[in-house]
């Protein structure tokens, strides 16, 4: 199993480069060259789903038509994730630069930053940055303008089709796919929706080159990534780390010496118990056994004083509330999982009922309409499987 030593990286927040210079150099390249470079770099979406960024741009670039959109997904809502806020606060121009790159590649004139409501305090700063950015666009003679769109407070809008629905003045409910946004997105036009961090990395790849980016990380998970570290740690905060570290290394660095479990990827991610730290590598492939998905990079650390029942209960309350409610498995499933563990705890249902709920979570994973409903099973199954006693007694 490929793995890397925990190595801190300083790309995203580094101030030793000018965005303008990166853009100047990049815009001299052809669209095809940029796409190829991104594909070569192996960059995958940093928002959660991990879709290859170069491929996404390529698909949108291949679409005909004169109206296309670039949307920066800043609807960061995954519990335990706060890196996008920090990026927008500190290096917004890098994000805008990534949007300009994308606009150039796919031939879009309009872009939006979909900012979650909770980050409204960033608006004045972002508006100023956008103003500067627009001046650059004029200098580059690139016909591209960016606007802010403020979300209304709905976790599911982080899912790209929900986000688009919401921008169209609708309830933020996920669409049936296909068609995908690169084909029919905002207002029915080809649209690229990229996470804040992903956009910054496209700029960084332009700066350091695909080769160097790919030299970091492991097979299938190249480069580095921002991790939001919280919970029982003395070093809570945001860290840029090379992909491929083991959880053991991570805990050694960030744990408080009594770490019982780490929730990787927030409420929709996986809970890894102490006995699995060694074998768990942070990368894109796999699930519970071995590799695990970083999603937005949320790393919540729990020490032995914590009740994993409380943790799971908190997550399920979150999902029960934040499910859009349209599809049966997610709407009713989340309620059943929550009510189910409560009933077991109270002794109204036998502990064997956990098996029924495990099966239900598996069904949700297979049949829910979008990633939200499908991922409820991740935390549910991984917590129940590893902390079964805590659920019952």
């Amino acid at each position: 199993m490929a793995k890397r030593k925990l190595k801190r990286v300083d790309l995203i927040f580094s101030q030793d480069c000018s965005c303008k210079d990166i853009l100047t150099a990049a815009l001299k390249k052809s669209r095809e060259e940029i796409i190829q470079e991104l594909i070569d770099s192996g960059l995958k979406g940093r928002g959660g789903a991990g879709f290859p960024t170069g491929l996404k741009w390529k698909m949108a670039a291949a679409e005909k038509g004169n109206r296309k959109y670039v949307i920066c997904n800043a609807d960061e809502g995954e519990p335990g994730t706060f890196k996008d806020r920090e990026i927008l606060d500190r290096v917004a121009l890098k994000v805008l630069g990534g949007m300009a790159l994308c606009a150039y590649v796919i031939d879009a004139r309009e872009g939006y930053i979909y900012l979650r409501y909770e980050y409204r305090f960033l608006i004045p700063k972002l508006e100023k940055m956008i103003e500067t950015f627009h001046k650059w666009m004029d200098e580059f003679d690139l016909d591209f303008r960016v606007k802010l769109f403020i979300g209304g407070g709905a976790y599911v809008c982080g899912e790209e089709t929900s986000l688009i629905e919401s921008m169209e003045g609708k309830r933020g409910e996920p669409r049936n796919k296909p068609p995908y946004p690169t084909n029919q997105g905002y207002l029915g036009k080809p649209t690229v929706v990229n996470n804040v961090e992903t956009l910054v990395y496209t700029m960084m790849i332009m700066r350091i080159g695909a080769e160097e980016f790919k030299a970091m990380g492991i097979e299938g998970s190249s480069g580095s990534k921002l991790f939001s570290v919280s919970g029982d740690t003395h070093k809570a905060g945001i860290y840029e780390i090379e992909m491929g570290m083991t959880l053991e290394d991570f805990v050694k660095e960030f744990g408080d010496g009594d770490t019982k479990a780490v929730q990787v990827g927030g409420a929709s991610g996986f809970c890894v118990p102490r006995k699995r730290f060694k074998e768990t590598t942070i990368g894109f492939q796999g699930g519970l056994k071995g590799f695990s998905l970083p999603t937005g990079g949320s790393m919540m650390i729990f020490n032995s004083s914590r009740s994993m029942y409380n943790v799971l209960h908190n997550y399920l309350e979150f999902f029960e509330e934040e499910s859009c409610g349209q599809c049966t498995p997610c709407r009713v499933g989340c309620q059943q999982l929550l009510k189910g563990i409560e009933a077991i705890k109270r002794g109204e249902k036998s502990h064997r009922y956990l098996n029924d709920l495990m099966r239900l979570s598996e069904t949700m994973k297979l049949t829910a309409k979008c990633g939200l409903g499908q991922s409820v099973a991740n935390s549910f199954a991984s917590i129940v499987e590893n902390f079964r006693e805590e659920m019952i007694y």
Binding site: Q326, T328, R331, V332, Q335, T367, A368, Q374
Partner: protein
């Protein structure tokens, strides 16, 4: 243009389907039925119930067959162990959020959830009953529609119906997560919102969440009361659909059996709304000619085009949505209400009955008729003109309750005296029918000749296109109508309120090229009404419409102005069309309403 073919394998069989075919459609072509709940032939794809999931080789998840297009090389299993398990789970989840008191549910044995739950042998005890902790209500405020949240499965068919087919949007999805539900504006009661009572949501509700408000018990009570003289009138569209709830295939005409059954139920007089439909044509036809005369000769500022007013769903729609344009509506009451007003005056007089002892029952393909009968304007006889309205479905229930063997009973005729009708009246039941009936009469009044269409069949106004139009040139007119000489009468027909909106938007800006417009709230006209048997789809509606036109062909008299009882009514009672008595009993006015 050649359509690209997609090759895939379904349940081990290799097939080719045109590009764009969904897995659900592809399976259907192979005679494999994939269960569905949120899917409906008449509506756009939602893909939210997830009951139609299938397994596709190499896919991480089970996609919904209704929302997934066939793709090249796909290997699909519609009935694998994984699929069956997932479907069972999903159905069990739906059941856990659903009132399972099926024994007392009006839709029992006609419920899609019940059918699937039985098919998959769902264990009601697996999951925790979620209903207990929710504050669900049953809304019985509307005269026409009952909304029972405890039976709603959130498939959103009603929401799509209300938005796509009717453009009313009285119902929508509110809140999210566990609290997500279907509701009106701020969860206001149904009687206080923009709902037109058309009942199309009822026709598409897979469960008993939306039903018509029933009046079966009240009707039985009246029938059992010796003091009461209970009259029943049945609308034209009922006779071509009632069979569906009593064991017949769609499109079978059961007019004679229905008359027999109604007599068996104990009605004192079994009469026909068709009689009043002919009467409507007399009044409305003359109203059209009168407006044309006032416009063309007297140069008065009258509202044209004239628009029909037989469909109470349409009436409430225009009152809410276009309150500034009510002048376009014909002032004629609908046939149901004309019938009611005449029954409690003329009929009572001739039969020597005290109108206060008359109970007017009507059997309608419609839920909005229940509301119409209770409008405060509808008391011109001095009493509530029509007392109790039941749907085709309710009559089916009553006939079953009565023990009559509907399949075996002989045929009978309607009772005389307001039981006579013409082919023109029968076709009121299908979209375009009122227009055709009106043209048959108006043309003849003006020219003295029959309409110039083969066998009186004005085919351009027939069919199922959402909006249709026709022109009839008036030539060699009778001297008194000389101002119409050479006028090309332009007419249009729309059914379904979304189509009505298209027409109405032109009318509203004074840009409508027509003289006369027929609008029916429901797709297909009354044959597709909100009180008709469930299920409904284009094919079923087409069969019912065909039956309507067959019924017309078989009638001896096919023009309203030749209905002998109508002629007699004018002679003995009303005087002439648009006369003073007509004006009092047969015409009405409309109300401006808010759009909330």
């Amino acid at each position: 243009m050649t359509v690209k073919m997609i090759n895939l394998t379904i349940d081990g069989k290799k097939i080719g389907v045109p590009e764009g075919t969904t897995l659900l459609e592809a399976a259907k072509l192979e005679k494999v039925k994939i269960p569905t709940l949120c899917y409906h032939d008449d509506l756009c794809i939602a893909g939210n119930c997830r009951v139609c999931v299938v397994e596709v080789e190499g896919w991480r998840v089970l996609p919904a067959a209704c929302a997934t297009p066939a793709m090249e090389g796909m290997v699909v299993y519609t009935n694998s162990p994984l699929v069956r398990r997932a479907r069972r789970d999903i159905l069990a989840l739906l059941v856990s959020e659903h009132s399972t008191q099926c024994t007392t549910c009006y839709r029992s044995t006609n419920c899609e959830l019940q059918e699937l739950a039985a098919e998959y042998n769902i264990d009601n005890e697996i999951y925790i009953n979620l209903i207990k902790d929710k504050h669900f209500t049953i809304d019985r405020t509307s005269w026409a529609i009952e909304k029972d949240e405890t039976k709603c499965i959130r498939c959103q068919r009603c929401v799509r119906t209300c938005a796509e087919l009717q453009k009313v949007n009285a119902l929508d999805v509110i809140h999210k997560g566990a609290n997500m539900k279907i509701a009106t504006f701020f969860d206001t009661v149904m009687s206080e919102v923009v709902c037109t009572n058309c009942g199309q949501c009822i026709n598409r509700c897979p469960t008993g969440a939306l039903t018509e408000r029933r009046y079966i018990d009240e009707i039985w009570d009246a029938l059992g009361d010796p003091e009461k003289h209970v009259i029943v009138q049945t609308a034209p569209a009922v006779r071509v659909a009632l069979g569906e709830v009593l064991g017949f295939e769609p499109g079978v005409r059961v007019t004679g059996k229905m008359a027999t059954a109604l007599k068996h139920l104990g009605f004192d007089s079994v009469l026909d709304t068709d009689f009043a439909a002919d009467l409507t044509i007399m009044e409305e036809g003359h109203e059209l000619l009168d407006r044309l005369k006032r416009k063309l000769v007297d140069k008065e500022d009258v509202s044209l085009p004239l628009m029909t007013s037989c469909s109470p769903g349409w009436i409430k729609f225009i009152e809410h949505m276009y309150p500034d344009h009510l002048g376009h509506l014909s002032t004629c009451k609908s046939p149901q209400q004309m019938f009611g007003a005449i029954a409690k005056t003329y009929y009572a007089e001739r039969k020597g009955l005290d109108p206060k002892n008359i109970v007017n029952v009507s059997v309608m393909p419609c839920s909005a008729k229940k509301y119409e009968a209770n409008r405060i304007e509808m008391n011109d006889s001095g009493f509530q003109d029509v007392d109790l309205v039941c749907t085709t479905r309710e009559l089916g229930h009553m006939i079953r309750q009565s023990g009559v063997d509907f399949k075996e009973i002989p045929e009978a005729k309607f009772d005389p005296f307001m039981g006579d009708s013409t082919g023109a009246a029968v076709i009121f039941g299908a979209t375009g029918g009122v227009m055709e009936a009106a043209l048959r009469t108006a043309y003849e009044v003006v020219t003295g000749r029959e309409v110039p269409f083969d066998g009186l069949n004005i085919t351009p106004v027939r069919g199922m296109d959402g909006i249709r139009e026709a022109k009839v040139k008036l030539e060699n007119v009778l001297p008194e109508w000389s101002f119409l000489e050479g006028v090309e009468l332009r007419v249009a027909i729309a059914h379904g309120l979304t189509n009505a909106t298209q027409i109405m938007d032109d009318v509203a800006i004074g840009n409508s090229p027509y003289h006369f417009i027929e609008i029916m709230a429901c797709p297909g006209g009354c044959i597709g009404g909100g009180g008709q048997p469930i299920p409904t789809n284009a094919e079923i509606r087409r069969k019912r419409a065909e039956a309507i036109y067959t019924e017309d062909e078989k009638m001896v008299i096919r023009k309203s102005h030749q209905n002998p009882e109508v002629i007699q009514l004018y002679k003995e009672f009303l005087g002439k069309p648009l006369g003073e008595k007509s004006h009092h009993l047969l015409h009405t006015k409309y109300v401006r309403r808010e759009r909330v």
